[in-house]
Subunit: 198 residues, 3 copies
């Protein structure tokens, strides 16, 4: 059950974040649709390829395709009514997607009995992969390399899932909320890791 919930939340959140960036870049309807879909499904595709899970299962997610499609269409037609400050909203939806997919990717790696390190990598790949593809295709510097703490939260979520949190559904939901909030706070208050020498 938790798996489906995290897939649902991550897919909708990333589809919206991709669509919002496409709107900012003045893409047309189909461009908005493609960038939303790539963001929603790109991270999972990269994870499956790298983890050795069959990629063809991507195609059996009809429900998620519909979720993403509806999310994108709502944003395309009603974003002006629903949202102001796209840039900020894009970052918030991205934070939700990052957290949900990091946990979901870690759960899959646990199922495949990967090492703790691999579980953390799967969390980062799944959580951040779709956003990286989105940003590269939109010609932007990937969020993952921005100054405010980002992918570390995916790695931490992956670590906690790998240490046993996946056994307790309620703990996973709390982890989702906390991870999302930590990322949002990092963005809001510019929490930063040390940089190298200039």
């Amino acid at each position: 059950m938790a798996w489906e919930v995290f897939s649902f939340i991550g897919t909708a959140a990333f589809a919206i974040s991709g669509a919002l960036i496409a709107l900012e870049e003045q893409y047309d309807l189909f461009g908005v649709y493609i960038l939303g879909m790539v963001t929603a499904f790109g991270g999972g595709a990269i994870r499956n390829v790298l983890i050795g899970a069959p990629v063809s299962v991507l195609w059996d997610q009809n429900f998620l395709f519909i979720v993403a499609t509806i999310s994108i269409l709502i944003i395309f037609f009603f974003s002006k009514m629903l949202l102001t400050h796209w840039n900020r909203w894009g970052t918030y939806f991205d934070a939700v997607g990052l957290a949900a997919f990091a946990i979901q990717g870690a759960m899959l790696a646990v199922k495949y009995e990967k090492s703790l390190f691999a579980i953390m990598v799967a969390a980062v790949l799944t959580g951040a992969g779709g956003g990286v593809v989105r940003d590269v295709l939109a010609g932007r510097k990937p969020l993952i390399f921005q100054k405010d703490i980002y992918a570390v939260w995916a790695a931490v979520a992956g670590l906690l899932v790998g240490l046993g949190l996946h056994k307790i559904d309620i703990a996973l939901y709390i982890l989702l909320i906390v991870t999302t909030m930590l990322r949002m706070l990092s963005y809001r208050f510019h929490w930063r890791l040390p940089q190298g020498p200039k």
Copy 2:
């Protein structure tokens, strides 16, 4: 038979379009070769990875490697004699590649008995994938996100193939010509889809 024809046309057209962009960017001989090859084979590679078809069949296409290599070399050494206005010619060859590979990718998805939605996605991935990789590597905004209608034609071609057109060879050839022309007309007359709110 139709499969081989579409593979041949798509490979040659995309190899040329990649080589033309590399020439515009002042790449050297090997850079032109690599960008041509990546454009010609990138879309099919992405499609095979995502559709779950074995990627290793890529290597059994010796004939197509030779087709792409000869196409690139002709462009490198004789483009000045053959063409003026590279930019426009690049767009035209890209249109031919888009149409040929969209149809070919949809045919493969039909063979793998995918859903109609997956057939359309395969058409878009195969038709537009190589061009996206080409544009990202050349540091350009992908054609697929430009303002004139582009990938929609690949999706429509995929839809028609999925609805049964793959059974009639002659219909596929007509579809190739019509799809190419629709893309060219979109470029020439700036046909556009609705954009989102500003």
Copy 3:
């Protein structure tokens, strides 16, 4: 034995080259780590996907993960002490990685009994692939498309391995040194291939 040596050298060299570019771009600690890891393992991942080798073996390289991690951390904390002129050092380490991974990638393709052409492609993909991903993610024009001769040396190394050099370990080590030096000399003295017409 030679395989392990080349994997070790290539991994360390590319991890360092990725970390150096991330430092130049003022990424934080985790950004430096990610770009280093992507550069070190990206080329091999692309090669495995395209050659049809199982990608999941990537995860059984615990020793190489540690090598890359230590290399990146040393660069992050001590680069100012160890190096001046990052830009030049980045190019040098990239040359070592290019040579080591070109030979290693060609050896794998030989093991899979691929054609001579495929062996050369595997050499270029493995040698240059990680660097291309690194440059795209950092928003730079890929080194492979720069004016000084680059990927040709990987193709030549692949050709020699494919012609039988893989049977003699000592010849492979000499090839590593010669390939690295040819790339460095290309960079230092601006050796160039012919360009197309303007």
